[in-house]
């Protein structure tokens, strides 16, 4: 009667996630509750619409009721910088009272001791802080805000002093690519976990200028070699395993995303609006019947059998149809950065097999 015992060889959580993907049972709602931000990150993908009003606290709370009814357990409050909203805690507590486990994506800039104490009372499941460098020079250059490194670092210390779990999320760029170990060491010294992500995306309006900040090829070749296994958690790049789930990704399945205006998206990366949360009387019905969401799901199912099959290094592609659409106009098209990264990963995989085979003989 106690805990679930897996019968299919998967951990119970992996099994649940697979079920979420395969049956389109959304576990997470990610809501960008504002586009306001006190950082000016060079690679930010957000595109606020000038003059358009963001939803009020009351409208968001009403939307949260609909999302709770949809069955999501995690509520991610994101932005912009969510803590810039004066009513942030009202919104977060509304989510908490509706039974969500709250995750907060913040830059940590506004987390003084008072905010840290209020966050402790809220007891979020997780706080993720964007972290951009091991020193002020690179960090402040990426955020565009002098002094942000020191202030964010203090914010993290304030959260840790309250015993809160903090993940430091580091987008890898060519400005910080050689600092990852120092960032990891800094995170560990603060009692935090550091996560690194080499994916930089275009802006939501298709502007590809952030891509100029991508880590360079020389670095990426090192990143996916055993030398960086402590950062990537893999000795060698492994091919995709598409046996567990049929779709390319969880878009329109595991997560529902919303922007500050109430647009409902299948994913934070794929901005095809299925409607406005304020206009939707029955979110369950929309989630099931929306032509937009069903189209997105169908495409995500096709990709492993089409796009990835025709790509030479398709089995090493971490392919995002949302990025493909914004960048190439078609969610099925391979885009330059995924082509490069999958080629490197495939090559590193082959190198590893070749060394193994030589060692064996």
């Amino acid at each position: 009667m106690s805990e679930y015992t897996p019968t299919n060889g998967l951990s119970p959580y992996a099994s649940l996630v697979a079920k979420s993907w395969n049956s389109a049972l959304p576990m997470t709602a990610l809501w960008e509750i504002t586009y306001a931000c006190n950082h000016k990150c060079a690679f930010c993908y957000n595109c606020p619409e000038r003059g358009r009003r963001e939803l009020t606290k009351e409208q968001i709370t009403d939307g949260l009721r609909k999302i709770a009814d949809l069955g999501c357990v995690f509520l991610v409050l994101s932005g912009g910088e969510p803590l810039t909203r004066p009513d942030f805690f009202d919104i977060a507590w509304a989510g908490k009272k509706l039974g969500f486990a709250i995750r907060i994506y913040t830059n940590g800039y506004l987390v003084d001791e008072i905010v840290a104490r209020k966050l402790k009372e809220l007891m979020p499941f997780e706080i993720e802080i964007s972290f951009h460098g091991s020193r002020a020079e690179s960090f402040d250059k990426l955020t565009g805000v002098p002094g942000s490194f020191d202030r964010v670092l203090q914010g993290i210390r304030n959260l840790r002093a309250q015993g809160l779990k903090v993940n430091m999320k580091c987008p890898i760029t060519r400005w910080n690519q050689w600092e990852l170990r120092e960032i990891k060491a800094l995170a560990e010294s603060l009692g935090c976990h550091a996560e690194f992500d080499a994916v930089i995306t275009p802006r939501d309006d298709g502007d590809t200028s952030p891509l100029a900040l991508q880590a360079d090829r020389e670095f990426l070749e090192k990143l996916w070699s055993p030398e960086y296994a402590d950062i990537t958690h893999e000795e060698v790049p492994v091919p995709r395993n598409d046996t567990l789930v049929q779709a390319n990704c969880g878009t329109g399945r595991s997560t529902i995303a919303l922007d500050p205006y109430g647009n409902i998206y299948p994913c934070v990366q794929w901005r095809r609006s299925a409607g406005l949360i304020t206009d939707v009387p029955d979110l369950r019905a929309l989630w099931k019947e929306s032509p937009v969401l069903n189209e997105v799901r169908r495409i995500a199912l096709e990709i492993p059998k089409t796009t990835l099959k025709t790509c030479e290094s398709g089995e090493f592609c971490s392919f995002c149809p949302g990025v493909a659409e914004v960048q190439t106009g078609d969610p099925r098209n391979i885009y330059p950065q995924v082509k490069m990264t999958s080629e490197i990963r495939k090559q590193k995989h082959s190198d590893f097999l070749s060394i193994q085979s030589k060692t064996a003989s």
Binding site: M1, S2, E3, L16, V73, F74, G99, A101
Partner: protein, 93 residues
């Protein structure tokens, strides 16, 4: 007081949803999550801060066609597991 008279309540920070008859329970205060099987999910569902362990066992015995004694023993053991994992607020009298 007998265990069967204790009234379990869910931890106020626990967030739970049921997916395909399995409760997924997130414990922010522990930084963990747990997944319950079908019967465990039903027991979790019945924990409302008003029913006693005996009340819950009676309902389980009826629904799963087992004896009250067997259900009570299982429910008490299960509640002990939930408590040890920090999923309960504590047992009120």
């Amino acid at each position: 007081m007998a265990l069967r008279e204790t009234i379990p309540a869910k931890h106020p920070d626990a967030a739970a949803r049921v997916y395909d008859n399995e409760a997924f329970i997130v414990l922010p205060h522990k930084g963990q999550y747990k997944i319950l099987n079908g019967v465990g999910t039903r027991v979790w569902d019945l924990i409302d801060g008003r029913r006693s362990a005996g009340d819950i066992a009676r309902l389980i015995a009826d629904e799963y066609e087992t004896t009250f004694e067997t259900a009570l023993s299982d429910v008490e053991s299960f509640l002990g597991d939930l408590e040890s994992h920090g999923m309960l607020a504590g047992k009120a009298e």
